[in-house]
């Protein structure tokens, strides 16, 4: 992970803590919009004294304002993370296509297909690594695995993974076995990176929804 990733994770942690431990104001010393005509004013010290009902209403208002700020921060963190995924070339436009397919009839569609991809791609990459470690390498089988991985990564918008698969196939077509072999480690690394970043994105989504917010829709 790079510094930006660490900062994003720190933001997520801070936001989560604040949601879990909403601080209540120790005192009410300013005029609240929720004050009604029943409030009592001590004009000698200029401090507004409120009956207990008014104070609890103000505390409730401050809590709601604080929650709104937490949701806003989570949403900003989400937007920043998603933007960085496109900027770094980890995701492409196809991911936006998937997001647009998600609606009230398919509320968890993106999460579902990405989870499916994690499972399938993880299995394929393990098979690739395992096959390359055999004494007699079955390159036809390896090519079939990479072909499948290229297709699914293209379908989900996992651009860097797709790109490494494309490079592998170019080496394969030229019978460059060393070139093929050299693609495996980067392929695994790109998958690990993709998985960790998408998991962070989904965690933020869950926190936004739990805090009563909505997931920002973004165009790329």
């Amino acid at each position: 992970m790079n510094i930006q990733d660490l900062q994003n994770l720190q933001l997520i942690q801070i936001a989560s803590e604040r949601i879990r431990n909403v601080e209540r104001p120790r005192s009410v010393s300013s005029v609240s919009p929720f004050i009604n005509n029943n409030s009592t004013i001590l004009s000698s010290c200029g401090v507004l004294c409120l009956n207990p009902t008014q104070e609890s209403i103000n505390q409730e208002g401050n809590t709601q304002r604080e929650k709104a700020m937490d949701v806003n921060m989570l949403q900003r963190t989400y937007s920043d993370l998603l933007t960085s995924l496109f900027r770094e070339g980890i995701l492409n436009q196809q991911f936006t296509e998937l997001q647009q397919l998600q609606d009230e009839n398919n509320p968890g569609f993106v999460y579902e297909v990405v989870s499916l991809f994690f499972e399938d791609a993880g299995r394929l990459i393990n098979e690739l690594i395992s096959n390359f470690n055999q004494q007699a390498v079955d390159y036809k089988k390896i090519d079939a695995y990479v072909h499948q991985l290229k297709g699914s990564s293209a379908s989900i918008g996992a651009e860097k993974i797709r790109s490494v698969c494309q490079t592998f196939r170019e080496y394969y077509d030229k019978n460059d076995i060393q070139g093929c072999y050299n693609c495996i480690q980067p392929l695994n690394q790109e998958f690990v990176t993709f998985k960790s970043k998408l998991e962070a994105l989904f965690t933020l989504e869950q926190q936004i929804v739990a805090a009563g917010g909505s997931i920002p829709m973004m165009r790329h």
Binding site: Q94, E97, L101, N106, E112, K150, G151, S152, S155
Partner: protein
């Protein structure tokens, strides 16, 4: 069109991930969807008497690839609309010669699918 008013689509692709995405796109139109994993099972659907309005056909599949499946369906006199969807750009001529109606490159987007459905008058 197939006998009922609902458009019936057959998805032929060995990747369950791809099938899932196509299904979600097609559900938007309330189509009836069947999915199979290879060309051989696609042929079997028609042999069993099932009728479809549209086939979304991948190329590289085990048992029977999409080109062979397309050629076989045309040889059986099946007039269903066949749309080849593959990442193998070099297979376009082969697919069209085999009898495909349209050829698209993966990944399929929702707008590509909508355009195809409109061209076949499946969106009324």
């Amino acid at each position: 069109m197939a006998s009922s008013q609902v458009v019936k689509v057959l998805i032929v692709d060995d990747d369950n991930f791809t099938r899932r995405i196509y299904k979600t796109m097609l559900f938007r139109f309330c189509f009836e969807i069947t999915e199979v994993e290879d060309g051989k099972n696609a042929i079997q659907q028609f042999v069993d008497g099932n009728e479809y309005d549209l086939v979304l056909m991948d190329k590289h599949m085990p048992n029977m690839d999409g080109v062979e499946a397309t050629r076989t369906l045309r040889g059986m006199g099946i007039p269903v609309k066949i749309v080849a969807i593959t990442d193998d750009a070099s297979s376009k001529d082969t697919f069209m010669d085999a009898g495909a109606n349209k050829f698209l490159l993966k990944p399929l987007t929702f707008s590509m699918l909508t355009d195809i459905l409109k061209s076949f008058n499946f969106l009324n």
